[in-house]
Symmetry: D2
Subunit: 343 residues, 4 copies
């Protein structure tokens, strides 16, 4: 059994970690911290956990965390990087669901997150937690920067075309729609039921933090700088991201369906749907899967890739558990086999 | 391994059976029938099952079903009773999610469902599938009439007071609110997103079929005829029932919280929340639990019981699997341990 | 033209006042106050008002308000009563959408709202703003206490039976369901899309402030103290209240449909639907109407009354404008003729 | 007073016409036809119209329609073109909300709608009902082809750039999201609350009928053939379309905000929001406005235009009334001044 700590288990991603890890046969959760709720039973705050989780929150306590084999951080950015060096010194492996270890370049981090990086020396070592790109490196990783929710389907949807050198890299468009849980469990006016419900809008069109991460990943895959036009939207559902990706592909002689199927044929959680499909967010609600379809409307220059995930699972907690499984030598799907909840 | 058939696995309850039984370690699904979709792969119609279920629908075929150990019916009323005698003759045990085996009295069945009962001789033998009332009888049952969605929380919420003789039986009110999936996967105008969404209404105030079932169950518990005023409402959520139950209780010297806790202390799926709680449907979304709270506002005569379930799980497929577990000697919670999907 | 001020026009009720009064042919809005947004244009914060409203918020300023003919308060309780004596001294008439002038008894106010009443001497003079009960008194009122959202359909639904002496006053149950806007535009965790969405729950079962107001109104109508069992619920829609009312009526010889129709035959905004109807909240979305239906299930003792309103219109701003029309001698429906937005 | 007929007033667009025309001071509705509901009162089927509309449906009857000054068709395609020549012969002016008179080329009509055009000779005369492009022609039109819901915001959002010759016409992308009412009041499985709710998906990626209309309009504006990559999505709200438009604009020396503001400075229903804005569908819910914002993320080559409408108003019935006002010499905003319903 691996002893695991979760820091910040009062937000949606942290609670989703708790849901997934509670059903993981190789995990014992030994520390669950929350500064605000310290001392309270988890299931008193979250009755859906009654009968399953008898833990109480403890104050963030480095010594309890230092005794864990692995610690997940589901915290605002800035928290993980402050705690990581000490944990590594105790032999704890760190999986960070915040942005602290996603970007390779500390200057880019500072530009987007408005603070200096606390341990830039770890950035080279840390591994980006997208198993479909970095599976081997993840096995030995001490620090994992789990991808953002949007970057997961955007990269998974674009990688086959970018890696194959087929995409016109100057015109990539990622039009993304997210359920409201993607904004976290923050008490903000715009996230109220009466504000976000029965409404649809774009936001951060002039620049969203996740674009840095997408550009980094695709640039590495393309081996040349890539700049995606990334527009996120808020849609009135709780869980789910739908990425609609537009790629100019001059060559007509490529079987795109085959290209995508081959790229992901060994991936347990990336599923290329039959040609002509339209993936739906509800098909992956609660599951760690990414469903992808590829279209070339009117046999024209513009290829349209559709990719859906559950932002809290493959876009956050599920992907983190997938990385954890790789790090500790378990089957990659352990604890992640639950079916989507449908309808 | 128990070989299982599902008849009618294209509706919401049938698909939920498939979700639950796919994760049941003692079950092998060997027949999945649908007249309309015969020959098609299940996961082609329902992509959330890709990678988990490689079955195809077959035409309803008595011989394939006759080879099963157990057959679940998730069909409109009338289908199960036509097929059951033949299946019993082959030693198959039947769990019916329709109304065919819920009512003890064939005349009552005819009054509410508008057709004669096809095998009234089986009504005495069949067992009502509410384990909290009929656990022992279920172990040996050959035919189980799985309760309706509304009757489950209404009966679970009222039983402690009725069994204890505390309830004024002349004034029972069950004000129930259901998510839209309770109406099934039927293509009806009133179930459209634009009709049922952003709307709230009562329906069938003058008489709903489930009231017969509630009255039957409570009458048996009270050992005297009981007539509940039952008003169902449609609320714009997919899964979930909230029953608000009003009971006049003259006696003030009873500790209602203790009464409820004792009644259900050994029940794996009925959870009496701490005093003062307000259960929420989302706490049981996707789970087989019923959460109950009991209040006596203003220390008055009227006791208010709040009970929530997921209508597709504890209100249909989950309860059916719970009965199945009892019938075949498995731990009652086998295959039913998944946590609610929250948020 | 009547010059009108609105205090607190950044909440849902205040903005709804602005919507309705902008279309009122006899109203000129001359003061719009908000401490927090002072100096900002209203349509910069609320783009749905672009092109219609070129006002800016001003700081709450007694002199500007004192120049108005009428001032609406859409504020938290406590604000109106502090400002009212001074406004009355300047000849301004006050319509309060908060709770300050709803309750006749200052001690009851203090018990429910936790503060002493600032001007108890005005309570006898102020008029409860339910035109269906107090039309004549409203014409001359200087201070109007606009009803709460829940009390409006509960009283309208029960009055015919109570006034006729038909209701068993010991067993009145009001099971009420409200859309989320009823909780106001407050940034609270429980009102987030991901908390209130896809969920249904009761709240304040042990006691809700609106019950005091309901009990007061019905006691006056019954000429004897009445105590309603009142249970509010939160349902995932933005606008709308559905009240399901349970009344024991021993007499069988009364034509309930006729009773209701006669009681409201001259009411422009209370509409008794044909026998057998189930009113829907969406039928009154954005409109000032209350739709009512009355049922006697199974011809039993318990009568079920269904009543729906839009909580922001007939439950708040629309009712306030209706009172305003009476106070200033306009046709009662002026500015209130817009159809419901359906679907 | 203009006497008006509505054919097909049982669908969402037809009912929205009824809502708008009921409040139009210059209109008397004299014929309201529905084959299926003939003889029934409108407000018996649609209680939100009680007290406002005392009409009954009549069977489609050419003579009653022939007596009207204008007839609106809110029917499936094919109906209008069959009836129009006869109506024109009687001097009736026709406003068609279906697709029959949108496309100039009968062959294109046949390709997308699968039937020959019944009166191709009228296509040259009929006017496309987008006042922002064809205002003058609309004043004298006998037949108007009211635009589709998607084409309205797509064209309004792209026209300024296309007309100014700034857009790279080879890479236009229109990523559109529609509320469910855009699919009409049809009883289809995919439109059920439990299928379309809590879900997001693209559809018709390989080709949607509205793309023909968009291409036609933009080609006329560009004076050269244009082919937009158009991807529609279904989003879980009732009303609203959000178009996110991607246009490559090489020139950096153009003030895009000024360009858009100038293009629409005299338009009563197109509102260019301040620079940096993100329009929301709820800001135009129930109103005839189109809100537009223009962005150039990262000062790059790709310009992003955001445009929102209510698909039933500016995307259907409201636009039709706007055309009607032009045709009959009324102020263009008559009957269209109601504010959006917010929240």
């Amino acid at each position: 059994m691996i002893s695991v700590g979760i820091v910040g288990a009062t937000g949606y991603a942290g609670l989703e970690l708790l849901r997934l890890l509670s059903a993981h046969p190789q995990v014992r959760i030994t520390a669950l911290t929350s500064r605000q709720e310290a001392g309270k039973r988890v299931d008193a705050l979250f009755p859906h956990l009654r009968g399953v989780c008898d833990l109480s929150y403890s104050a963030p306590d480095e010594s309890a965390l230092a005794d864990c084999d692995a610690v997940f951080f589901a915290t605002p950015h800035g928290v993980t990087m402050a705690a990581t060096p000490e944990l590594l010194a105790h032999g704890v492996r760190v999986i960070d669901l915040s942005a602290d270890f996603r970007l390779r370049d500390a200057a880019v981090y500072t530009r987007w997150y408005g603070m200096p990086h606390a341990c830039p020396e770890l950035l080279a070592e840390s591994v980006y937690g997208l198993p479909e790109m970095y599976r081997e490196a993840l096995r030995d990783a001490r620090v994992v920067g789990n991808p953002g929710c949007y970057p997961t389907p955007v990269q998974l949807g674009l990688l086959p075309l970018v890696e194959a050198g087929l995409a016109d890299l100057n015109s990539l468009v990622a039009d993304c729609k997210s359920g409201v849980s993607g904004a976290g469990r923050e008490v903000k006016l715009g996230l109220l039921f009466c504000e976000a419900g029965d409404n649809f809008k774009a936001y951060s069109v002039t620049g969203h933090r996740h674009s840095a991460e997408v550009d980094q990943g695709l640039s590495l895959a393309a081996k040349t700088p890539v700049n995606v036009t990334f527009v996120p939207h808020l849609t009135p559902l709780i869980r789910g991201i739908h990425a609609t990706l537009y790629v100019r592909v001059a060559r007509r002689d490529v079987d795109l369906q085959a290209l995508f199927e081959e790229r992901y044929c060994n991936e347990p959680f990336v599923d290329v749907l039959p040609a002509g499909s339209h993936p739906e967010t509800r098909s992956v609600r609660g599951a760690n899967h990414c469903h992808i379809a590829v279209h070339r409307p009117g046999d024209g220059d513009t290829v349209v890739v559709l990719a859906v995930i559950d932002n809290l699972v493959k876009g956050a907690a599920g992907q983190a558990v997938q990385c954890f499984n790789l790090m500790f030598g378990f089957d990659e799907t352990t604890g992640l086999k639950a079916l989507a909840l449908w309808p």
